[in-house]
Symmetry: C2
């Protein structure tokens, strides 16, 4: 048993590589698994991608990603369901049971160019009548995070039968709360588990990504819960670097460069009974500007030093 | 009863103003209360500051801020306690019962210049022994967020008798999780309430700042809990703007410019029985570059449009 047995290269980490290059790079580095992204799979062609990975003898730990389920209008809902059904088929075809799902943000942040769109003038006042005689105020639909979360629950219910029929699990990924407006109204592991609760664990699971959840005061408890509910679909690792990158999506770092306590979190994951792949997923311009083979050398070194020690046996 | 009766100007919003200028500006604008910062108070002189505000007839809704309680070494602990006792005296002197407390971040992020400090090479491996025979791995002390939170609890217990004797409440402010490493290991309202639980509500309260908590899936429940426990010490409002400013501390916006659903959150606050001041606290370079009187004009307009309608009567 090699110490890299559970290491998976999420191919977003070596962004400059095509799918073929990433597969060959992983094989050269002795990495036994890859996490794939749909854009690279589609670029290679779905059947070709599946063959490439299979012939290389690599496991596919996950496919990224489905989701963006918060749209409120009928056409948007239909389009989102179509896209997610396609993602489910792609996951099954490339040979993974785990489709990573990022649920989407608020309507106010979803339209192109709307990132800094202010409220329409007077919108709440119009709802509330004269401000000097206040009454019950309706939530602003474009900013109503509670309603957006309900739509996520509804869309998951829509997708579960199709996913189950294809042997694919919807792996809900809570994203860091700084992405709640524009990317994911699911911000904590507990919330993801609550959304998963109505469905069997083989239909809906959760992703534990250290970048997104390390700060959560309830993390140890929710990881234990995820384990006991058999819902841990993926353990993704990278560090939380400061200062935040101008695009905070790219502030992920090599394990050891930031503030994540991998010893503790890895111990909790191990105690929860997770024995699956550990995906290294780093979005970081400096990493992307580094030759892929060098990135893999650093990834393996950091994995051995910061992640592997906590995976061997349950902590505490 | 004026529609600005509950509006408080947190003077960080008009950063270019001295304390005297902020007091005079608030009076000119018909704002009946101010939230003060220690640097401006110390600059004016504590007794002078207290007189200035009292003669102007303004309420002081809070003093910002104490905290930074996560230090592990004895000298650091002693210094933190000294500083917080001074802040308690300052709060009592300027006439507010509410001392806003930001609890501090991880040791790894607290040393000057350490923001991007990597792990010491091999630190975890050294703890874990040979990586090929993994065993229980101790948490990394510099990154152990669980231990840092326990130190916060310990320091609050140290400070409560002094605060109570001075009639000052320790108002714990959960900060957005993107500040968990470097500013506050308390990230949710629920966590702040758990920390407050051992103490009477007049000794330890919580701050609800929309910028920091708007994304929380448990927010409605925790605001209701905070109300029923009589712990809401301050309701601070500003918006969550995107894209994030280069310094994310400065990404706060005028209400209405971003993604916060003030109608919902204000309704929850009202339902929780909160009838106190509503502090507008905006850190934003554009706002700071705008003349203070113009800032107050915008603040009042946005307050009337987005905040006030939800404050009139309990929602739902």
């Amino acid at each position: 048993m090699s110490d890299l047995d559970r290491l998976s290269l999420n191919i977003a980490t070596t962004k400059a590589w095509t799918l073929r290059e990433a597969v060959e790079g992983a094989v050269r580095a002795g990495v036994p698994a890859v996490g794939l992204w749909r854009d690279r799979v589609q670029e290679a062609g779905l059947e070709t991608a599946a063959r490439l990975v299979a012939r290389a003898g690599l496991r596919v730990s996950s496919l990224c990603r489905g989701g963006f389920l918060t749209t409120a209008d009928d056409d948007g809902i239909a389009a989102a369901l179509d896209d997610n059904r396609a993602a489910i088929v792609e996951a099954a075809t490339v040979g993974t049971s785990e489709l990573v799902v990022v649920v989407g943000g608020l309507p106010a942040a979803s339209a192109p160019g709307s990132a800094a769109r202010p409220y329409p003038t007077g919108s709440l006042r119009d709802q509330a009548g004269d401000a000097s005689t206040p009454g019950p105020v309706a939530a602003d639909p474009a900013r109503d995070v509670v309603a957006a979360r309900q739509r996520v629950a509804d869309r998951i219910a829509d997708l579960v039968p199709f996913a189950t029929a294809h042997g694919v699990r919807i792996a809900l990924e809570p994203l860091h709360p700084m992405f709640a407006a524009d990317r994911a109204v699911v911000s904590t592991l507990g919330q993801a588990l609550d959304l998963a609760a109505p469905f069997p664990p083989e239909a809906v699971g959760v992703v534990v990504d250290t970048y997104h959840v390390w700060w959560d005061p309830d993390l140890q408890h929710q990881i234990a819960r995820a384990g006991s509910e058999h819902r841990i679909a993926s353990y993704q690792v990278c560090d939380w670097n400061l200062p935040l990158a101008a695009d905070p999506l790219l502030s992920r770092g090599y394990m050891g460069d930031g503030y994540v306590d991998f010893a503790s979190i890895g111990g909790w994951i191990t105690s929860a009974g997770y024995t699956g792949d550990v995906e290294v997923e780093i979005f970081n311009q400096h990493v992307w500007d580094t030759p892929g083979d060098d990135v893999l050398t650093t990834v393996e070194d950091r994995y051995r030093r910061y992640v592997l020690p906590s995976l061997g046996r349950p902590a505490g």
